[in-house]
């Protein structure tokens, strides 16, 4: 990959830029995830997942992605990784678990890929 600046803005494969269009789509989902900063928000979600999603006005795609714990679907539905990280953390998962899920690898394979980048 050439390291120079480029005037083009070609899409970057496997990467969603969280711009205004995504922000408009994902506001409710991200607002719910932001509420997971608070212990009370996490407890309320875990006690009644569907009710909590409805309280924030999530759409069907967002609710399904939350139910499935599916990171790629959450991103496609307008989720921002910084807020999704709170949902992921609440579930006891870390960024390598989620990296493996998104890339279709086992966690061990994903870690090996990261190690390989050092060589």
């Amino acid at each position: 990959m050439p390291l120079q600046p480029s005037p083009t803005k070609d899409p970057i494969p496997g990467t969603v830029i969280f711009d205004g269009a995504m922000a408009m789509r994902g506001y409710a989902l991200n607002k719910m995830c932001y509420s997971f900063n608070e212990e009370a928000g996490r407890a309320a979600f875990l006690a009644d997942e569907d009710g909590y999603c409805d309280r924030f006005g999530l759409n069907e795609a967002q609710k399904a992605a939350i139910k499935a714990r599916n990171a790629l679907d959450l991103i496609a539905a307008g989720g921002n990784i910084y807020y999704l990280a709170k949902f992921i953390g609440m579930l006891g998962l870390n960024v390598q678990d989620v990296g493996a899920q998104q890339t279709g690898m086992t966690v061990e394979e994903f870690k090996a890929k990261l190690q390989a980048a050092g060589h």
Binding site: P5, T15, D19, L114
Partner: protein, 279 residues
């Protein structure tokens, strides 16, 4: 008159905070990373800064999308750390220097930077992890802090060129402060990493090494990239390089490299460490 004595760049990912809490300093996975830091602390012991301006990005603790400022400057007496959602015990608050904060804000706004001033501000791992790495002995820590938060959550992010100029303006502001203070500037985050999407786990060693070299004597080269370039070359979260550019801008034209380290991977990240001393 206040003086910027130098700058430090360091990763700030939460995994480091966990590793510190578990004291994994000699763990084979972590040792090559932590071994980079004693030299930084030795330098800090020598220069004895009074204030640290900590340039970081909030990862969804203090700022939400309802009010997402491009550049925020703390102006509080102290800064609280809070639970970010994963249930960790928050660290004790960090003392601020609101008088210097207001001098900075006055100077930056006069200089046409459209700052968001924050008289109350919760700081997240982007701020606390570097503080723990550089000043692990909290009881002995006397340095005051000024958080400078940069939007990396919601595009459009500020351009690398704008960030470098903000750094230069911070440098001018500090140098015009009447009190005799030594100030260190921390550029946190980076280097290449990407958490989201099918491209998760992307790391670009060649780009990272180029950044570690160029930022010393040719930072303008890096300021020429677009945010889109940085996402492409350094990954979605690698755009945090703009935080390093703010630090570098504040240090002035000539700096000397005191120390550096680079290690892949810690968690999903290429971890770059630099100590630069102002000429």
């Amino acid at each position: 008159m206040a003086k910027i004595v130098g700058g430090v760049t360091t990763s700030h990912i939460p995994a480091i905070g966990n590793a510190i809490a578990k004291e994994l300093f000699e763990d084979p996975y972590w040792k090559p990373f932590f071994d980079g830091y004693p030299a930084v602390r030795a330098w800090l012991d020598k220069v004895k800064p009074d204030v640290a301006i900590v340039v970081y990005n909030d990862h969804g603790l203090n700022f939400f999308l309802d009010k997402m400022p491009t550049f925020s400057v703390g102006a509080a007496f102290e800064y609280e750390n809070r639970d970010e959602g994963w249930g960790l015990q928050p660290l004790p608050p960090y003392p601020g220097d609101p008088e210097l904060s207001w001098h900075l804000i006055e100077s930056l706004v006069a200089d046409e930077f459209d700052i968001c001033s924050c008289q109350e501000m919760a700081v997240d791992h982007g701020f606390t992890v570097p503080m723990s790495l550089l000043w692990p002995d909290r009881a002995a820590r006397t340095v005051k802090t000024i958080p400078v938060a940069v939007n990396t959550v919601q595009h459009p992010l500020p351009t690398p060129a704008r960030c470098f100029k903000l750094g230069q303006a911070i440098g001018r502001a500090v140098e015009s402060y009447g009190k005799d203070l030594k100030v260190v500037v921390l550029g946190t985050g980076g280097l290449s990493h990407q958490l989201d999407g099918e491209r998760a786990g992307f790391i670009n060693k060649a780009f990272d090494l180029m950044c570690l070299e160029k930022i010393v004597d040719e930072p303008e080269t890096l300021a020429r990239y677009s945010i889109h370039d940085l996402v492409r070359l350094a990954g979605a979260q690698g755009a945090e390089l703009i935080l390093w550019l703010i630090m570098r801008g504040a240090l002035g034209d000539k700096v000397s490299k005191v120390h550096s380290n680079y290690h892949i991977p810690i968690s999903n990240t290429g971890a770059g460490l630099l100590v630069l001393e102002s000429a």
